[in-house]
């Protein structure tokens, strides 16, 4: 047998479903090849080689972010080594940023790392063009007087900035970018059945079923979408052409469907009854999507308009055309259901055909728009049109607030902050704590709690917190905030590793969402309190 088998022609394994794809297999399941490509093109800058900063980068280097730079200006100390996994005893006395970059590089050869010795307190003095090499900047514990001008610069250049802080049991993360649009928001479902407004091909298919003539086995395999269409037709005939709308009517409608059940096998009827609520909802354009379609960025396109807004405009035009019946392009997906194979496959094909038709209309419009803007028709690919149409019910545009707006008393979200501070146990106290610590560091040149005698620091920090609260219209530092401030003093500005590590997870996760433009990132601040293991998200 040995002889024969050797003569059998066959290709040679392993094939090159590359080692790279294998290494990244588990994450490709989340963001697919296009997400991975975006990640591999990115160049991320970390300001401050802190434990939290290193942990954020670790979670970006592991999945293969193209390149990273660590900028820092300190020599590593024993305290750094205690808390930062990417430093060891031998790093003490050496450039902290260089050592962290070196250890991070060991995690993944696909990611290219380097370090820069930058004076962090003078970052605002750098030539503005310096920042253009980066696709995203992470700023850990950079003092506001330096951070604010940088954030303004990055905002103008549309480079996302992620600000992080980690002190003791507390952590904070803030995202700043002028506009972030998401097509692939990964909703739980893209199913859009349109049973209230079936198109002719769907009606024709459904109305051919004659339930009363079917044998038991067939009766149990009529797809529930067909059942709903048939019973809706029957209902409308006796209700002036109206679908069931009130609660009572919907129950009555359910009873009508139930009356058609012939045997215990009729699970398809159960499926139909369970979907009554959704099936009788009028299909419309969700208001948040309508808002995007009406946005001036879609309606007033220019030569610099992004693909997202061109596509949004094309879809907006589609919804106004006679081709659409005033609705979004159909996604084309059909849920699993009890059905015989032929009916199910036919249904799938009816939905897909309609989706393709809608999509072709949009693609045609996109070409016209590109042409009118003097851009190549190839600027937006067919795949991009497909994806946009498929997720058109789930588009997301996040217009972040700038850091300046957050920090300037006149534009701060004062009401929100003051109202939250009054809530029992609100994490807003921790937010105020971080802001007060920043000011303390700026004034004193050190973090609170770093001297042997800490009581003075408690007093100073509380006075600063009061300044911040009064500047936005408040009048007191409440008991809860006061005890949080004391905690901050106790921590002495030091990081606790597991909190920094957790922040590293949250931070990197949001950064991956921003870089891949998939899933919806947080808007715009999160605070984590490791004492209670709770977090809060606010727009500040």
């Amino acid at each position: 047998m040995q002889q024969i088998i050797d003569d059998v022609p066959r290709s040679v394994t392993p094939h090159i479903v590359s080692a790279r794809d294998r290494k990244y297999d588990r994450q490709l399941r989340l963001w697919a090849a296009n997400g991975q490509a975006a990640l591999e093109e990115a160049h991320v800058l970390l300001l401050t080689a802190s434990a939290a900063g290193a942990e954020i980068l670790k979670n970006l280097v592991l999945p293969g972010t193209g390149s990273f730079t660590v900028a820092d200006d300190k020599l590593a100390t024993e305290d750094d080594v205690d808390v930062n996994f990417f430093l060891d005893e031998s790093s003490i006395g050496q450039l902290r940023g260089a050592k962290v970059a070196e250890f991070l590089q060991e995690l993944n050869a696909d990611s290219v790392g380097r370090s820069e010795n930058l004076t962090l307190s003078q970052l605002d003095k750098l030539d503005p063009s310096y920042w253009e090499q980066y696709s995203l900047v992470i700023a850990h514990q950079i003092r506001p007087s330096v951070l604010l001008p940088i954030s303004k610069l990055l905002w103008e250049k549309k480079i996302p900035l992620v600000v992080s802080n980690s002190i003791g049991f507390y952590a904070r993360l803030r995202i700043i970018t002028p506009e972030h649009s998401v097509v692939e928001s990964h909703p739980d479902s893209t199913v859009d059945l349109r049973l209230d407004c079936p198109w002719p091909e769907l009606e024709e298919f459904a109305y051919e079923f004659k339930l009363e003539e079917l044998a038991e086995m067939d009766h149990a395999h009529v797809p529930y979408l067909v059942l709903l269409l048939l019973y809706l037709k029957q209902w409308k005939e006796t209700h002036n052409g109206e679908s069931p709308s009130t609660y009572a009517e919907k129950n009555e409608f359910k009873a009508l469907i139930r009356s058609g059940v012939q045997s215990n096998d009729d699970e398809n009827f159960e499926e139909a009854i369970n979907t009554v609520w959704r099936a009788t909802q009028a299909t419309t354009i969700p208001s948040d999507i309508q808002k995007i379609l009406n946005d001036s960025r879609a309606q007033n396109l220019g030569v610099t308009s992004s693909k997202f807004w061109i596509l949004a405009r094309a879809v907006s035009d589609f919804t106004k055309s006679s081709a659409s019946g005033g609705l979004l392009p159909l996604s084309g997906s059909v849920p699993d259901m009890k059905a015989d194979t032929t009916s199910y496959v036919t249904l799938q094909s009816i939905y897909r055909t309609k989706a393709r038709k809608d999509r072709d209309w949009v693609a045609g419009r996109v070409n016209e728009l590109l042409l009118s803007l003097g851009r190549s028709a190839a600027a937006i690919s067919g795949d991009e049109v497909d994806t946009f149409c498929k997720f058109s019910r789930n588009l997301v545009v996040l217009d972040y607030r700038s850091l300046e707006d957050e920090y300037m008393p006149s534009t701060a979200n004062s009401k929100k902050i003051l109202r939250e501070l009054e809530e029992e146990n609100s994490l807003m106290s921790v937010y105020v704590g971080f802001r007060a610590v920043e000011v303390f560091e700026e004034r004193e040149g050190r973090y609170p709690g770093t001297l042997d005698y800490t009581e003075d620091d408690e007093v100073i920090l509380e006075a600063i917190a009061l300044e911040i609260i009064t500047s936005i219209g408040g009048s007191v530092v409440n008991e809860r905030t006061s005890s949080v401030l004391k905690e901050f003093v106790r921590y002495g500005g030091g990081e606790l590793h597991n909190i920094s590590s957790l922040l590293g997870g949250i931070g990197a996760q949001e950064i991956v969402k921003i870089i891949t433009r998939q899933y919806v990132p947080l808007a715009n601040t999160t605070i984590f309190d490791g004492i209670q293991s709770v977090s809060a998200v606010w727009e500040l």
């Binding site: 088998i5 040679v12 297999d25 395999h221 496959v345 921590y491 899933y519 998200v537």
Partner: protein, 612 residues
Amino acid sequence: MSRETYAKRSLGEVYDKVHKAKVLMVGAGGIGCELLKNLVLTGFGEVHLVDLDTIDLSNLNRQFLFGHEHIKKSKALVAKETASKFNPNVNLVAYHANIKDPQFTVKWFKSFDIVLNALDNFDARRYVNRMCLTADIPMIDSGTTGYNGQMRVVIKGKTECYECNPIEPPKSFPVCTIRTTPSQPIHCIVWAKSYLFSQLFGIDEDASPDLDNTENKENEDELKNLRLENEELKKVKNAFGTVEFAKLVFEKVFQIDIDRLLTLADAWKHRRAPVPLDFASIKAEADAAGYEDLDKVAALLANDQPVWSLHENFVVFTDSINRLSKRLVDLQNRDLGGSKSILTFDKDDDDTLDFVSAAANLRSIIFGIETKSKFDIKQMSGNIIPAIATTNAIVAGLVVTQAFKVLSNDLTHAKMVYVSQPPSRMLSSGALLPANRDCAVCGVARASIEVDITKLTLGQFIDDVLKEKLSYTDEISVMTSKLLYDVEFDDNLDKTFEQLGIQDGSFITVMDEDEPEDGSTARVNLEFLVLTKEFSSEPAYTLEAISGIPRKPRPEAAESDSDENMVVPASTKRKADEIVETSNGNKKAKTETSGTSETIVLDDEDGTFLID
């Protein structure tokens, strides 16, 4: 270290407890790597880690303690090695072993202050849950799937245990759906993987857990038919290793078997009838497309994203059959008598995945079902769970914050936390729920016993252990998965444990049916974990550990469930490992900020006693 570290400052009084704690970490994978790093850098003094797995390329996108040079090495040992480099002051002990091994006795579990579960499978988690309940050691369980994750503290008698809510068994498919009437891609994938692949290159189909072979009246004929198919396939296997083999298999499963299915006219009256495939014409198509050139085949296989056409599936099918045959022949030529080599399906083994993908797609084409890309089939056939570093980092960070609570005995602030999308609420944390009184796992008393199963008889066990030591009366039942003894059934008394099928790791349940005259209730069930050990002299057992055996609550005691101080679990029942729904999370977050219903401590039941 005399210098005051930041960890010491932040942790304050807890630091000493943390530093002196002895921690058991089960699992050194995605969460495990993060956990170990966190433990080492927050001042934990002694960590034991157990993992039986070895390192795979697909781990490296998140399990950062491992590098390319570590592939195929023990996770536990490498994790220890890498982590100690960064902090030589921590005492790390690694075991490349299964946590279910007998070396890990209840006594050994008892030597820890806390157990951290970082496992990826239900079976091992259930086992550790039971061991921790038996040893009465607090446990923190954690898990992640893609961007979602969860963790919770489990303390015997005080909180829900890992099994207080039933866990769904893995899905299986009726054999007729797989073999005769598939309607979804997954049916064809299971057919290709669990039936065809095993039949050709592996073990017999009957041993496969994906298939439900239960025979009943309705499927009698169909099953008879299927047995005939199996016989024929065995004949085809005689051509194994020849040029003809791929063709014969193809014709057998995609033509002859389908033709036979078509004769079951009844089955196709109301279903689309399958369409058999013709080898010669598809081959001609493939040849015309240039696939006689093996380089072209290799190029086709190098991209797992596109959905293959009919003739492309054909090419991959024949090519992979030939590759697998060659491998199996080579393996079997090396066999030295004894067991015969087989191949097993592995989603990361391209030869096996190519075969399953192509065979599944060809079958889908026959039945008019949508075909899938190799990338998608890999996920569907291999139960791949998406995994990234970020969620693991978040969950591991939470586990350590909860470990601080447990070690400082601050259980009222211990939590269960869920990490989930959407971003409006990243973490939802809730107070721990009280144990489910009807839980078959933590609602029972637990004991472990070392036994020489060849010597100890059931009679001796009942007389010596149950009646004499534990004061049971005659009114008891003793059972494993079957009844071993009760008042009216004493046939087994002279049989040894071995003769009764009891092995190392078996559980024996003792049910008390005695309602004493003083009006008290019967005791709760007692579950023994059996650990085998050789004894040269009598008695042939040692009672290793036993918890108290409380009496069952009176039926009316159930009313106390509405007590304000207890979180009522009824409304929050959920499948284990499922992320709590929004409404639930909100509700929990609310009770929490209102700060009223935090109390979770149930009174310890009475009747505790210990036997050394």
